[in-house]
Amino acid sequence: MQESNTAIQAMDVSFFYGPNQALFNISLDVAPKRVTALIGPSGCGKSTFLRCLNRMNDIIPKTRLTGKVLINGQDIYDAKENIVDLRKQVGMVFQKSNPFPKSIFDNVAYGPRIHKLHDRKRLAEIVEKSLRRAALWDEVKDRLGENAMGLSGGQQQRLCIARALAVDPQILLMDEPASALDPKSTTHIEDLIGELRQDYTIVIVTHNMQQAARVSDTTAFFYEGRLIELGRTKRIFTKPKEKQTEDYITGRFG
């Protein structure tokens, strides 16, 4: 266990969709309990890289990964690695909020239930705790039995965060979690990320550069499947070293 200073260690990761290479030799360390933002223009591989971190790309046929991804020192692509345990440790929030068409309670309780927790009292505790952490409890506490599809877009996304938190992960992957939301809901989500950083390691993909600047400690700039620059967010946005990074953050392309 390398609890000390890396939660995720990507080593020389390349990724292929069939014959097309989407990622080229990415090496990147993510510090625990920090927010790391992955930025870059559309199609630069930032989402693909994020999905490598909980093996979400496994479900896409004809894909292939080379290199290593270590989480807490364990190679998650090792044949012995249990993918269920991995995904319990590494939660994910998607771009398009995707609550299940079930009740609010059942949405949050879904994770614990599939991991064989059926004790009503424990489940109720976990649901409340998770919804509180996702800053949604006060809005929904009186209607936990209602269908989650009746919530607003921003509420749905916070529900998805609560659902991910309910299995008690250490790492939270967020794939453009606010890109489909209005400004007010976006602020909500960003505030929430600010709260969650105390307890979770967060990796967030965003193509909103202000957002990356506001919420993250570290920023990684991706371009055409390559990691161009990695550094403290403040430094990246004020004194980028690479020309491409500078061009992107000053809005010259992307």
């Binding site: 479900i59 995707n98 068409p101 994770g111």
Partner: protein, 283 residues
């Protein structure tokens, strides 16, 4: 202006076609009900045919068709849905799975008499089931399987990928995901499509002609290895094989109406199921 005119013309044409179809079906229904309704009474529904079908009721045919339908559902539904789940969720999408799909769609177009002969060869003779409910149900099941597989696969594919991803990302296994987050949302589509297909099969004559149907039976079937009478076959006999087809015309109408009601009942059942699940899981 001319664009506007052709727009109006094509609109009227499409409307005419639709009305035409509704009118045809309406007339058939009207005709069957007008001639069939006077025949239907308690005695007609609950007694055995007398004098080789010239008098009496159609109870054994109703019971027979009911048994065949239930048998078909019990065989075809689990097999068809299972196959659809495999094709939609597990099978790798490659040449082979495409070939399987092509084969299934082709099977859906095979004439029903061919299924009848197939059932005769495989179930009646080779498996030694004899002409029986078992052989007939299996034959009908083979006939509806392709339709059930195709509609079920469509229903599965209609479930948004986001539900699957969210479930997998929480650490659910593939089967847990399918069971808790795919099947519940697609089951209504599967059941509706399947019941419509089975309703149609209930009215088929050719597949049961050689595998199960009896012209006349003095008693109700006691086991799955017994023969039964069936509504469509009974109708066929009365209409073409009976010495006095003119005289038994009202009975033909009565039988046709009962068969129609049975199929209609199943279709209404399918709609009710759909509404129930739509309300329960909407997105």
């Amino acid at each position: 202006m001319s664009g506007n005119l052709s727009q109006k013309l094509s609109y009227q044409l499409l409307r005419l076609i639709t009305y035409g179809i509704v009118l045809c079906i309406g007339y058939i229904l009207f005709d069957v009900i007008r001639h069939g309704l006077p025949v239907i009474n308690w005695d007609f529904l609950t007694s055995f045919p007398r004098r080789s079908g010239s008098e009496g009721g159609i109870l054994p045919a109703i019971v027979g068709t009911f048994y065949l339908t239930v048998g078909t559902i019990m065989v075809a539904l689990p097999l068809g849905i299972g196959c659809a789940i495999y094709l939609a969720e597990y099978a790798e999408q490659n040449r082979f799975s495409e070939l399987v799909r092509l084969a299934i769609i082709t099977l859906a177009g095979v004439p029903s008499i061919v299924y009848g002969l197939f059932g005769l060869g495989l179930f009646v003779i080779f498996c030694r089931f004899g002409t029986s409910i078992l052989a007939g149900s299996l034959t009908l099941a083979c006939m509806v399987l392709p339709i059930i597989i195709v509609t079920s696969e469509e229903a599965l594919r209609a479930v948004p990928r986001g539900f699957r991803e969210a479930s997998l990302a929480l650490g659910a296994t593939k089967w847990q995901t399918i069971r808790t987050n795919v099947l519940p949302y697609s089951i209504s589509g599967m059941i509706t499509g399947s019941i419509l297909a089975i309703g149609r099969a209930a009215g088929e004559t050719a597949p049961i002609l050689l595998t199960v149907a009896a012209f006349f039976l003095p008693k109700l079937p006691g086991s799955v290895f017994d023969q039964v009478m069936a509504l469509p076959y009974h109708l066929y006999i009365l209409a073409t094989q009976h010495p006095e087809t003119e005289k038994v015309l009202p009975l033909q109408y009565g039988t046709a109406l009962v068969l129609l009601m049975l199929v209609l009942g199943m279709n209404i059942g399918a709609i009710v199921i759909r509404i129930y699940f739509r309300k329960k899981y909407k997105w």
